[in-house]
Amino acid sequence: MFSALNIRIGFFLALRALRRASLWTTSLIVFVMILTFLNLVVVSGILVGLIQGSIDQVRTKYTSDVIVSTLNDKKYIENSAGIIELIETMPEVESVTPRYREGGTLEANYKTRKDTDKPNTAPGQLVGVDPLAENAVTGIAADIIEGSFLSTGDYDKVVLGHYLLKQYVPIETPAFSTLDHVGIGTKIRLHVGDVTREVTVKGILKSKVDEIALRTFMVDTQFRSMIGRTDGNVSEIAIKLKSGTDPAAVRDALKRSGVDKVAKVQTFEDAQPKFLQDIVATFNMLGNVFSSLGLIVASITIFIVIFINAITRRKYIGILKGIGIHGRVIEISYVFQSIFYALIGSVVGLALVYGFLVPFFAAHPIDFPFSDGILVAPPDQTFFRVGLLVFATLIAGYIPAWMIIRKNTLDSILGRN
């Protein structure tokens, strides 16, 4: 039935039908196909991209490619100096930033409040960093929205994450307090254990990574003396790798060197919270649901287009059958026409997605509250969706053609019902 001859003649008829069809009709069908393709790829791509943007932010601004952090029962990484030295000798490593970290409290209104007033405090992670090393790994200086980032020689100066300040987070709940009337140059107090230190706010940074937005940054040498850490052991080491390096390979190399005995060694993916992975899976599923609806709409559109086309051409279909052209040839010609519409729609859609939308969203991410949303369109998934679209339209084109072709030949020629 699907002999080479039938396919050849079917293609011959389809090509001529398309070539001599109304340009407006063809354009409209192709336009519907493009929209369907975009619906298939872009809707789920944006949903996943929303989370992917968040994952990317965590990677670039917090964990970098590989992160070495304290074991669950330790406050710091033992032999940090040796580990940092080892990391710095690895050829795949581009830069490293060791961080000291302690939980503490910030206090703002200690100078003006009366004894009966409630202290204006906010809990947060206090982090000591080498400003140059931190900036080399995370580019943190670019995230400063007020004031400036720390310099190596800064003394008693801090940079606050914007979640610590009321002007940036105007909602206050019992579980989440912020500092009021604090800006650049304001003096605040840091409380870490029994130690209290008065510092000046040098800068405010805005980050979509909660971990960072709740941090207070200080120069490491001063922070170390404040918390009494004389051994130089840090709490986390973020490692940025050279482009093209597999983070898992570096993680495994560090583990082989025994680093995992004193610290957790994770790639940025290992360090992702499980809920993020769950959300990616959930959004993927939601995207598939929306895409399926789009696919059904496209299939119905093609069905209607081919059905109307076949109905209006019923006489000619009858003539073709009358002069001895096999019904299967006519079905194949309609299938080819459907595939053409789907392929042209997909090709234009692919050009739009990879030539315009993906680069555009990469350059101008959508400003979601918790992430810079990008368009995620992995080629393998995209081509799977192209296949899906072509297959759905193939079926949607075949069924109406089959319905019309099985009608009596003479009735078709004479226009009898």
């Binding site: 001859l5 050849r8 003649i9 011959f12 001529r16 039908a17 070539r19 001599r20 069809a21 000619y316 003539i319 073709l320 059958k321 009358g322 002069i323 001895g324 052209i325 096999h326 019904g327 040839v329 009596n408 030949t409 003479l410 020629i413």
Partner: protein, 225 residues
């Protein structure tokens, strides 16, 4: 070559039965040109459709070249129409999206001829019909007479055993009709083409070797020219 025995065709619409052919016995020999005449509704076109295997009779037998068509499957009938028959319809029945050349070449391609060979054969046939300058034209760019000539060329390009023509001049002016009938005459004289033609026009029926007259679903008279 083609023979019908007690051919009956009855149309059914709900409970109403309308007999159109009432037991036709007919025979045409190879190389014969037969004209079928009769008033509208006499059953002549229905008879042509049964003989040309475009429709299935209610009862009776059709034998073509010794093949009883009752036992043929739809596919066998389709192959029979493709290889042994040629059709000329009243309204030309050309495919609007195919050029004159493509319309003629299509049945040849369907018979398995390579494209080059089919096109060469189709061009030669069109040139013989004086349509060499129209091969790239779509049907909408041709006059009625030209369209019918293309239709005839399509019908005979593969040298069919029988050419069936259903009122081939009904939609044409006198001059075009005359030209079409000249082509039929040439075909019959030069190649011995068997032609079974339904017509209303006496002057063209007289070109045939035999005229049979239909009335009320029966052959009422037969006349040899």
């Amino acid at each position: 070559m083609i023979q019908t025995k007690q051919l009956v065709k009855t149309f059914k619409s709900g409970e109403v039965l309308t007999p159109v052919l009432k037991g036709i016995d007919f025979r045409a020999s190879a190389g014969e040109w037969v004209a079928i005449m009769g008033r509208s509704g006499a059953g002549k076109s229905t008879f042509l459709y049964q003989m040309s295997l475009l429709d299935d009779p209610t009862s009776g037998e059709i034998t073509i070249d010794g093949h009883n068509t009752r036992t043929m499957s739809a596919k066998e009938k389709m192959l029979f129409r493709l290889s042994k028959f040629g059709f000329v319809f009243q309204d030309y029945a050309l495919l609007p999206e195919l050029t004159a050349l493509e319309n003629v070449a299509l049945p040849l391609l369907m018979q398995g001829l390579p494209k080059g060979e089919a096109y060469t054969k189709a061009i030669a046939a069109l040139e013989r019909a004086g349509l060499g300058h129209r091969i790239s034209n779509l049907p909408s760019q041709l006059s009625g007479g030209e369209q019918q000539r293309v239709s005839i060329v399509r019908a005979v390009a593969h040298n069919p055993r029988i050419l069936f023509a259903d009122e081939p001049t009904a939609n044409l002016d006198n001059e075009s009709s005359k030209r079409i009938m000249e082509i039929f005459s040439e075909l019959h004289k030069k190649t011995g083409q068997t032609i079974i033609m339904v017509t209303h026009e006496e002057q063209y029926a007289k070109l045939a070797e035999r005229i049979i007259h239909f009335d009320d679903g029966k052959i009422v008279s037969e006349q040899k020219n």
